[in-house]
């Protein structure tokens, strides 16, 4: 991978001055991933959501690279079209034969796990040469913290409320990364904004493959997670250290646990409570009557971590 010094000289394709919240994980994820894209020109397509709405307020734009927003559920299909145009126009001699362009589609978890899943699945299956990045903050943050299929069990959200009859989200989160891996695409990875080197390296690999790649990034939302904006990276790191969010990659079907997560096999994982506690969306879980639910959440984390470990042959 490029050295830190080299990376520091690369231009930011998402420039400062955008209107994302302080501590937003989405812009951190974008920077780390686009640094890994190298020097080739790049077209970015983004689903409707915080990232899109905060970076493209007419007549301004924070994108110094070609950018398209179409709608909520079709970032992957839209970028499919851009990539198809590139191929055809190059074939027809309308674009120089030696020109290289990178294509990246982005969506939040709502736009990826839920409403955009079909579009993403189609684009992956068709084999477009694009990198799809999901910044997963575990809810529909842009519309006001509604639960998505990425929302963790027990989390408060405005459509999975906490009251006498319900303790936040009832269901487990969907394992989207495995779903995309099952498409048999050349590169799939799970990363976190807390592990920049790991994430940037994964982005380099994703952009290097010929064909579709997918990266799912844990990206803190201080508003939705009900945490301090200056704790974003720290909490995401706890997500990794507790095993809630294992870092791994699937290269040509071969699963590999990334170093920060593999190290936990020996060093041991922190209890999931450490990830949950700094987040207000989980505060009800620490009431005595929710002890069993908390234990259930720990069990789910253990199970998922073990599943990934096994898939990775560890």
């Amino acid at each position: 991978m490029a050295t830190l010094k080299e990376l520091s000289h690369r231009e930011d394709r998402l420039e400062g001055g955008h209107r994302l919240c302080a501590g937003c994980g989405a812009s951190v994820a974008m920077r780390q991933i686009m640094l890994g894209a190298g020097e080739d020109p790049m077209v970015v397509g983004c689903a409707t959501g915080c990232l899109e709405v905060s970076t493209s307020i007419y007549p301004y734009t924070s994108w110094s690279t070609p950018f398209i927003h179409n709608a909520f559920e079709n970032s992957a299909a839209t970028v499919s079209g851009v990539e198809a145009a590139f191929k055809a126009m190059q074939r027809a001699g309308k674009i120089p034969a030696d020109k290289k362009v990178k294509f990246m589609a982005v969506g939040g978890d709502g736009g990826t796990y839920d409403i955009g899943l079909q579009s993403l699945s189609g684009a992956m299956e068709r084999g477009h040469d694009m990198v799809y990045v999901c910044y997963d903050n575990g809810a529909y943050m842009n519309t006001g913290i509604q639960r998505s299929s990425a929302t963790p069990k027990g989390a408060w959200a405005t459509t999975s409320e906490v009251g006498a009859a319900q303790q936040g989200k009832i269901q487990k989160r969907k394992d989207l990364t495995s779903i995309i891996a099952a498409h048999g695409v050349p590169y799939v990875a799970q990363g976190s904004i807390s592990h920049w080197k790991d994430l940037t390296t994964k982005a380099e690999k994703a952009f290097a493959v010929d064909g579709p790649a997918f990266i799912n990034v844990l990206a803190t939302c201080p508003r939705g997670w009900r945490c301090a904006y200056n704790k974003s990276i720290e909490i995401a790191k706890l997500g990794v250290q507790t095993g809630y969010w294992p870092l791994f990659e699937v290269e040509d079907g071969v699963w590999n646990m990334s170093t920060p997560s593999r190290a936990l096999i020996k060093a041991g994982r922190k209890p999931v409570e450490e990830f949950l506690k700094p987040q207000g969306r989980f505060k009800h879980l620490f009431k005595p009557e929710n002890e069993a639910l908390l234990a259930e959440i720990q069990q789910d984390v253990d199970d998922y971590y073990e599943y990934v470990k096994n898939r990775c042959g560890e």
């Binding site: 070609p66 299909a77 499919s80 851009v82 198809a84």
Partner: protein, 395 residues
């Protein structure tokens, strides 16, 4: 006039032929009856290496239009085709395509919308999209479907327009029936449509642009819509100009509105699509019996040629507007609403009656056209209208 080859084939196959001749860079499409043979035929061209296009076999019509939007914004010439539920599934994206001013060309094989499910012709699909900001041309015949497709490429890409265009042809009646069609040669069509010169292309990576901005929070959304309205208004003269140029090479007439026997008509049917032929046939028969019957066929529905329609039926004593679609709860079908509005400025009031016909492929028999003209004849002689709206031939 260019030399042409006469063939016997279907509407869908000549639409696919027009696609090939117009040299699209990207075709993103999904199968749906009765459109499918368009994209199947195009898939053959791809397999035969006769086109340079990238054929994106999307997983839904929503993605068909999404990918078309991405490709068009990238700077490509983009064509697609759909029908019915497919068009309905695209609905969100239709508005985005026009709002982003992307000259995508789409064929729509008119088919009824569910429920109940039905695969046959009516115009409910296209009419449901009539406010989506697309230029909309309707074909009566396979020949017109071919001609409209070629014309619409030039219209969409005209710098004065830059809007998506929908060319509609009647499901099964036009899409699947074998007809006699004159085809232009490849060079003529390619020369006629020319090269597309995109503006603000995503793939012009040295000049990065942002497409699909946010224009809320007091931003210029309202002004964007006004400029879109101005563009579709401007498209009218562009369609006329391009249509006239096309007539020169094809030798076939093109009008936003095409009339038959209207010079001295007392009674007239206003109609869209394949049933215009039935109306003309019956009007001719009735002329032989002394009834001054005429037909006004609307070939361009968006922009709606209101002045031309009003001028065509100005002297009539009674007019029937035949709608092959519903606008439930409205005063009448979509065409009726347009025509009646177009007539408002006339000094002499023309009685207008609305007939809903042929929904879900219900037969449009000649006797039904007779019934309409007879009703009109009665109205012209002073009888009351047969009702505000008549379901023509419903059992």
């Amino acid at each position: 006039m260019a030399e042409q080859k006469t063939v016997a084939t279907t509407g869908n196959l000549v639409v696919a032929e027009a696609f090939r001749q117009c040299k699209p860079d990207v075709v993103a499409a999904y199968p749906i009856t009765p459109q499918t043979t368009i994209v199947e035929e195009f898939a053959k061209f791809v397999a035969q290496g006769r086109v340079h296009a990238e054929y994106v076999t999307v997983e839904s019509e929503h993605s068909a239009m999404s990918a078309s939007i991405g490709a068009s914004a990238a700077g490509a010439r983009v064509m697609t085709a759909t029908a019915s539920q497919g068009l309905a599934l695209m609905w969100e994206e239709l508005h985005i395509a026009s709002g982003m001013r992307l000259p995508i060309v789409m064929a729509n094989a008119n088919r009824a919308l569910s429920a109940p499910i039905n695969i046959h012709c009516d115009h409910g699909d296209a009419m449901g999209a009539r406010d989506a900001g697309w230029v909309m041309l309707f074909a009566e015949t396979a020949q017109e479907a071919y001609d409209n497709t070629i014309i619409s490429v030039r219209v969409a890409e005209d710098p004065e327009v830059l809007l998506p265009t929908m060319t509609c042809l009647d499901g099964f009646i036009t899409t699947h029936s074998i007809d006699r069609i004159d085809l232009l040669d490849d060079e003529t069509v390619t020369g006629f449509v020319g090269e597309y010169e995109p503006v603000n292309a995503l793939l012009d990576t040295d000049n990065p642009v942002t497409h699909g901005s946010f224009a809320g929070l007091g931003g210029p959304y309202f002004e964007f819509k006004k400029s879109q309205r101005n563009a579709i208004d401007r498209s009218k003269t562009v369609i006329e100009r391009v249509g006239a140029e096309f007539s020169e090479i094809s030798g076939r007439p093109f009008g936003l509105v095409e009339t038959a026997m209207m010079d001295d008509a007392d009674v007239a049917i206003v109609i869209i699509g394949s049933s215009a032929g039935n109306a003309r046939h019956v009007a001719r028969e009735l002329r032989a019996e002394g009834m001054k019957a005429g037909v006004v066929k609307v070939r361009c529905f968006r922009p709606f040629p209101a002045a031309e329609v009003a001028a065509a039926i100005k002297g009539c004593k009674a007019v029937a507007v035949l709608d092959r679609s519903e606008s439930f709860g409205a005063e009448g079908g979509p065409l009726y609403l347009e025509v009646r509005s177009a007539l408002y400025d006339l000094e002499t009031r023309v009685p207008v009656v609305n007939y809903i016909y042929g929904l879900g492929g219900a037969d449009v028999r000649l006797e039904l056209m007779h019934q309409v003209y007879n009703d009109l004849s009665d109205i012209a002689s002073g009888s009351a209208l047969p009702g505000k709206m008549v379901y023509l031939g419903a059992r």
